[in-house]
Amino acid sequence: MFNPIERYLQIRRLGVLGMNRRNIRYIGRYNKRSVYPNVDNKLKTKLLATSYKVQTPELIGVLETQHDIQDLHSIVQGSEGFVIKPSKGSGGKGIILLRPTTDGQFEKLSGDAVTSNYIETHASNILSGLYSLGGKPDVAIIEALIIPDPVFDRYSYQGVPDIRVIVLQGFPVMAMVRLPTRQSDGKANLHQGAIGVGLDLGSGRATGAVQFDMPLTYHPDTGSLLSEIKVENWTTLLTLASRCHPMSALGYLGVDIVLDKKKGPVLLELNARPGLTIQIANSCGLLPRLRAVEKIKHAERMSAEEKVAFSQKNFARPEASSATPADTNTSV
């Protein structure tokens, strides 16, 4: 029978971070309200990233007024695919990915043709604040569609998989890759049905997978074995994530990174309230790692590289840690 007290103690023993503790102890303590716009406003994040030399997808244009929507067509002319997203959106809402068709029109990555009227309506909705927090007027960002590294081709249904790294004070503490599925409409959003695959911080190898908070073994659309996933250039990627801490001034953040075919890891967006499902994907609680980071003295004097090295050493999977040092070195 379900015994809430026993279950409570079991979960606490595993060091699982709950919503309340995350809000009070981590978000409340490490993320100052005044720097939220750095991440809630994606345009601002992009500009900050540029000045900190953190790679992001190429910015094609910004629509600021309803009037600008007329220019949408000329802005995206000749692009090899683009993304329209609200600058202040949340939870992946209001983002559409489009690529050109042979006849000069655009289609969704799923192959569904869309009319230009549909695109304009969408842009208009973004500007009037449909997807922004509190319904405030917003701007629409148009950026180049990422050409995903083929490493994930076997594991994703359309869309672009992204890698979420939880970073505390610049130390990567946990990571997972989010794979789009048919159910998630090609989006890498766990709420919408994307798969979360936990990644070992030491090696970049898969540790476990979860969809809708339930573990699974194979990708439901491609049938590939999820445990075979391994991310190359893992240390570079973690270093990029770590550098987002000084850039955003947020102490506890979720960094979303995509692997571009040519550019390598690029920063997609930052999240000041990263979700908790990553723990299920990794079969591991966040709390012991967060506490280990909080114990480090003079952490602010460490470089991003030193912080990543610390994390890779201390937060690697026990059984993998002995076998992987050589592995990690080669992929750097």
């Binding site: 809430p4 979960i11 009227n117 304009e120 908070d213």
Partner: protein, 501 residues
């Protein structure tokens, strides 16, 4: 950890102050901690039905006055298209409806809410009705005088005279005179009144309505009212018993007809009666008002009524905080459920739930069409608001036509809240699917229902209205809960997969 000390000190101070205020007020102003008194309210609705003749119509319905055991708390009328006058004439309080050219069957409603008082107040002085002498013909005159003489000799005053007369009239067929007189009278009561007037005693047939919970189509009974000086007494003509029965109200006390319709046919009036037991809205006496003895009782009545709602809001907020932090229920809009709960207070729970779900469901249906129209956000929300108003109007009219007056209560829902709920749910539906709409909508309704149950609880209402200290106690609880960093109940299920390793 040092930084927590001021926090706990604040929580403790708030709680201690609140509790002190409650205890002080309890001891000082003698306000009971639990609601003690209940009041009985009778909700009486008179429905006048008649067929209009396409000619000017005037409908006169007698209204009851406050009396002995009953106080009139409120009067409500519904009479679409009719002019209405509530005549306050002390001799004949009545409602007069007029209309130039009504046609077809007409229904007019008059509702009165009477409070039952445990201690009878002395009846107000009233002037005897003038004598109303019937012209008797022989042999009735002899028979009448014979009866009057007999009763007169057996009695001491007009009251005992009435009792004797009624005894004789009711002593069935034995008496020839009575049988003779009854043949030319409408009823025993009518005859008794005629005989009383003949004997120079002021008397009238009046209308008494027996109060029985849940009665529909109740009709009033005729009683005899006898005056001596400025005092009067009621008699039941069938039994000869003196006085108004305990559970009955004197609807008309001067011998006027209950209903009088000019310009209509087939007129009738039906009474339906509902009993309600509610906590007495006693405002406790306000002396020695000082800082610790704050209360809304010192405000004017209109402001007090306003505060009754405001003071309940923290209870609703407490429920929301608890369910979100400890249970982890998802709602659509943080405090939207509290506003829905407030509307439930006006509509009652079942009616409120049904109409809320119906309006939102219909709204979602039409909103899905708006999605295709490519409108700007503000315009679309406005369209949804207008749509909600249209739905509500339609709802009210339909339910009124069907005779379901509960349907009218849908207007208590705040329109803007309904519109935003529909808008949010619609977007949620498009983006996350119907499942999330059900989860969040269900969560909101669950929170609203729980908040409603607490906010409508007699004990809680009593304490909230009479002890402002409760607000401080609630505040301290909210602060404490905001400090809870443990797992939520629903997280225990969410993180279950982690345990299976």
């Amino acid at each position: 950890m040092n930084s927590r000390i001021p926090f706990y000190a604040l929580v403790f101070t708030l709680m201690a102050t609140g509790v002190t205020m409650i205890i002080y007020r309890h001891l000082q102003a003698n306000v009971p901690l639990l609601p003690s008194e209940k009041q009985i309210l009778w909700d009486i609705e008179a429905t006048v039905i008649f067929d209009a003749r396409n000619a000017p119509a005037q409908v006169t319905l007698s209204r009851p006055l406050g009396q002995g055991n009953y106080t009139i708390v409120d009067e409500i009328t519904a009479s679409p298209g009719f002019g209405l006058t509530l005549a306050e004439d002390e001799n004949w309080p009545r409602a007069v409806w007029t209309k130039r050219q009504p046609s077809g069957e007409q229904r007019l409603y008059y509702r009165v809410i009477a409070r039952h008082n445990s201690s009878a107040t002395a009846p107000t002085a009233n002037i005897p009705a003038p004598l109303n002498n019937r012209i008797w013909s022989e042999p009735n005159l002899t028979a009448a005088n014979d009866l009057i003489l007999k009763a007169w000799q057996l009695s001491a005053d007009p009251y005992s005279f009435t009792t004797e007369l009624l005894k004789m009239i009711n002593a069935d067929a034995a008496n020839q005179n009575v049988r003779l007189l009854l043949n030319s009278s409408e009823s025993k009561g009518e005859l008794a009144v005629q005989l009383l007037n003949q004997a120079q005693v002021s008397a009238r047939l009046v209308s008494v309505l027996r109060l029985e919970d849940g009665r529909r189509r109740q009709s009033p009974e005729r009683f005899i009212k006898v005056w001596t000086g400025d005092k009067s007494q009621l008699f039941n003509p069938a039994t000869g018993e003196r006085g108004l029965p305990d559970r009955a109200i004197l609807w008309e006390g001067r011998g006027h007809p209950i209903l009088q319709v000019d310009g209509g046919r087939n007129s009738k009036v039906e009474f339906s009666i509902i009993k309600r037991v509610e906590p007495a809205a006693t405002s406790y006496a306000y002396h020695n008002a000082n800082l610790l003895n704050f209360s809304i009782g010192s405000l004017p009545l209109a402001e007090q009524a306003l505060f009754k709602t405001i003071l309940l809001l923290p209870i609703g907020a407490l429920v929301v905080v608890f369910l979100r932090i400890f249970i982890g229920i998802k709602t659509s809009g943080t405090f939207m459920p509290v506003l829905i709960a407030l509307a439930f207070m006006e509509t009652t729970l079942i009616v409120g739930l049904v109409s809320f779900v119906a309006v939102v469901a219909i709204g979602l249906f039409f909103r899905s069409y708006l999605s295709h129209l490519n409108l700007l956000l503000v315009a679309r929300i406005s369209a949804v608001i207008i749509m909600v108003i249209a739905i509500i109007t339609l709802f009210s009219i339909l339910s009124f036509q069907l005779g379901l007056t509960e349907g009218l209560k849908v207007t208590f829902f705040p329109m803007i809240i309904l519109a935003w709920t529909i808008e949010r749910m619609s977007i949620l539906w498009e983006e996350e699917g119907a499942k999330d709409v059900l989860v969040q909508g269900g969560g909101s309704l669950l929170v609203a229902v729980l908040a409603y149950l607490l906010m409508s609880n007699d004990v809680i209402r009593h304490i909230a209205f009479n002890f402002l200290g409760l607000q401080l106690v609630i505040m301290s609880f909210v602060l404490l809960m905001g400090n809870y960093s443990g797992y939520r109940l629903l997280e225990l299920r969410r993180f279950k997969p982690l345990l299976e390793k």
